[in-house]
């Protein structure tokens, strides 16, 4: 069964790769009408990715998020889902320039990278209420996916803003970017959607850690970086809402927030998903 799920995952990766290549070409030559080929390939990849995750879950008799590779696969899957939802509202084809490479790397890592220790399974198997920890994993993944899309929107915002500020203006060359207002809205609304999910995900994690270990290990870099991500997230949203932060300032802070989250994710690869789970 696991061999079969690997087959579906590789098929998904092939389609993501094709989608990424097609997106790069169509955007470079400004043929956005052909972007639907890229989106179609990624959507099909998303379907096979889903099949792969289900197959893995069925084979392991648990939700497949216990290993680092499985969590990467889940995150890539949720990012694609989030992108497809955002695309439905804003059609920001250029967003794929940032999102698709990240999805490609995460899926690649999930297939060919070291699977990592199956900590969550080991830990959760010793504790009652397994469902909580999977809820934690899914909600955190959605929160990260929202942050990834917001990051993509803000990176493009900085590029678009630079193009508009640089004088003399030139006829727009390179990929056609969404308007500043659209990019700002993608950034802000993605954050708005992701924040409550990330918050609930963290709270569930805290609750579970409290029940399992009688408290949280603040020596875990992933925990620290996730809490830092959450704090920046909160400040960013509050500033946008209350002080009207937007544009370049908001873009820089969103990018910082994403980088902290990414550092947390990478640290998970170094130490296992949570190093305290190995105790």
């Amino acid at each position: 069964m696991l061999t079969l799920s690997l087959f579906w995952a590789r098929l998904a990766l092939s389609l993501y790769t094709f989608g990424l290549a097609t997106a790069l070409i169509t955007l470079a030559v400004r043929r956005e009408s052909l972007f639907r080929v890229a989106r179609g390939a990624v959507a099909l990849g998303f379907f096979f990715h889903f099949v792969s995750i289900v197959e893995t879950g069925v084979a392991l008799h648990r939700f497949p998020a216990a290993q680092y590779s499985q969590a990467s696969s889940l995150l890539a899957f949720v990012i694609v889902a989030f992108f497809l939802v955002v695309y439905r509202f804003y059609s920001p084809a250029a967003l794929s320039l940032v999102v698709f490479p990240l999805v490609f790397v995460l899926t690649l890592v999930s297939i060919y990278g070291s699977p990592g220790v199956t900590q969550l399974a080991a830990a959760s198997s010793r504790a009652p209420g397994n469902g909580w920890i999977y809820g934690h994993a899914i909600l955190i993944a959605v929160g990260y996916a929202a942050l990834t899309v917001a990051f993509a929107g803000e990176v493009l915002y900085l590029v678009a803003e630079r193009r508009l500020k640089r004088l003399p203006l030139r006829p727009e060359g390179g990929p056609r970017l969404p308007s500043l207002q659209t990019l700002d809205a993608i950034g802000y609304r993605s954050l708005l959607a992701g924040f409550p999910l990330l918050t609930i995900g963290i709270l569930i994690g805290l609750y579970w850690a409290d029940r399992r270990f009688g408290g949280l290990s603040l020596t875990d870099p992933k925990v620290l970086l996730t809490l830092l991500t959450w704090a920046i997230y909160l400040i960013l949203l509050f500033s946008r809402w209350s002080a009207g932060w937007r544009g370049r300032k908001a873009a820089y802070v969103t990018i910082l927030c994403f980088l902290v989250a990414a550092a947390g994710w990478v640290s998970g690869n170094q130490t296992g998903l949570h190093h305290f789970l190995g105790r």
Partner: protein
């Protein structure tokens, strides 16, 4: 009698001064009647736009126009004479051609001026102030302007300002739906661009103009709202797009004004289109985050209409204007010879008819086709015989090389010639700095 043109424009006078001399539509018939009644003025028209006020007339001298200004405005515009320009003869015609072709406009290539010139002539014709002379000049100028528009890229250049404004609005806001446009100053290009943005979907137009009446009229035209000039800074934050096109010599909006405006907008981005020359908005505003400021040159570059292209097109247009002007001026100069030419042609035709009459009884015996052949033969003979004298007279008149030939022809052929208009003056521009004594600087 020849063309004389006295005027002031954005090149020579600030808006405040142009506004002082502008003639509102409601008073135009009265002004035209006064101009036509001025001694020495045969025909006249007044062109009054935001960017220029010009008095064009067929007169014996430019003094008649100065005299009209003194009489009409009831004042001695002391010290203002250097702000005016005065052209006479071919120079006046050239100025009309260039203005009609929008080569003298604030934004070269803008299309409104042609319509404004047509309206000015219509008003003058309706008031009985303009006749055949001005009609001939303006017809030729309009033909030249249309040729410039059709055969050069200057028209595209003008449109590019509005297109570029919409293009930039799309790049910043994604579209104009729900956006408010503030027009500062009711100049031609600004009005055109604001109207274009409204047609492209902008929800609301605010107009702030020094002349409240004109601002209100423009706001009413687009279902917008006129803002009192003194409330400009307090109200500007409502706009997502500001188009500024005033004749102010100093910037109206400084960096601090725009920073305050952005703070009131909670940093929502604002698009500032400064199409005034000199600029209305301080250039360092572009340093502010969320403020996107562009001037005329920037806007042109958006749609790849580079300065070099524009200059090349303008040079082509100038050459076209010179060719058309030359053609018109030859016809205009030859107008003195027209009575002689017509008299000579009539003289030849009379001779031919008289001879045919003498031979009528003999010709009557001929079959119809032979009678027609004789008719054609005599006509051809007369045409050929008169060809050389007619050509020589026309050429001499066009070149103004030897106008005595007109008298010689009359004497040689015994022509009875109707009174011709007085020969025009040299056609050289007169320096504007030589107004009548009452208008001299400092007088």
């Amino acid at each position: 009698m020849n063309f004389h043109l006295l005027g002031l424009s954005h090149h020579s006078a600030p808006l405040e001064l142009r506004e002082r001399f502008a003639v509102p539509d409601a008073r135009m018939p009265e002004a035209l009647a006064a101009l036509a009644a001025e001694p020495g003025v045969a025909e006249g028209l007044v062109l009054s736009t935001c960017n220029r006020v010009e008095y064009l007339a067929i007169t014996t001298s430019g003094d008649a126009l100065w005299s009209f200004i003194r009489r009409w405005y009831g004042q001695e515009p002391a010290g203002l004479a250097p702000r005016f320009y005065l052209h006479a003869g071919a120079a006046a015609a050239r100025h009309v051609f260039r203005v009609a072709a929008s080569l003298d406009s604030l934004v070269v290539g803008e299309p409104q001026i042609l319509g404004q010139y047509k309206a000015a002539f219509q008003a003058a014709a309706s008031a009985g102030a303009a006749g055949g002379g001005l009609r001939a000049l303006l017809n030729a100028a309009f033909i030249a302007a249309k040729r410039v528009r059709a055969e050069t890229g200057l028209g595209r250049h003008s449109l590019s300002i509005s297109h570029a404004a919409v293009e930039l609005a799309k790049r910043i806001f994604g579209g104009l739906g729900g956006k408010t446009v503030l027009l500062i100053g009711a100049g031609e290009m600004g009005t055109q661009a604001a109207g274009y943005l409204v047609r492209q979907g902008a929800s609301r137009l605010l107009v702030a103009n020094r002349g409240q009446e004109r601002g209100q009229a423009l706001a009413a035209k687009y279902g917008g709202e006129a803002i009192p000039w003194e409330h400009l800074r307090a109200e500007a934050h409502r706009a997502d797009v500001i188009i500024s096109c005033t004749g102010a010599t100093e910037p109206l909006l400084a960096k601090a004004d725009i920073a305050a405006l952005l703070a009131r907008r909670k940093s929502r981005p604002i698009l500032l289109l400064d199409i005034a020359v000199p600029r209305d908005i301080a250039a360092d505003v572009q340093e502010l985050e969320n403020a996107f400021l562009y001037n005329v040159d920037d806007l042109e570059s958006v749609v790849a209409s580079h300065r070099a292209d524009r200059e090349r097109e303008a040079a082509r247009a100038e050459a076209m204007i010179e060719a058309e002007l030359d053609r018109f001026w030859r016809r205009w100069e030859a107008r003195d010879a027209l009575p002689t030419l017509r008299a000579l042609e009539a003289h030849g035709e009379n001779l031919r008819r008289r001879e045919l009459e003498r031979w009528r009884s003999l010709l009557a015996a001929l079959p119809p086709e032979q009678r027609a052949a004789v008719e054609e033969l005599t006509r051809a003979l007369m045409r050929k015989w008169l060809h050389r004298p007619l050509t020589a007279i026309r050429a001499a008149a066009e070149e103004r090389s030897d106008l005595a030939i007109l008298d010689s022809a009359a004497e040689l052929f015994g022509l009875q010639i109707a009174a011709a208009p007085a020969a025009n003056e040299a056609g050289q521009p007169q320096p504007a700095a030589q107004p009548p004594a009452g208008l001299k600087a400092g007088a």
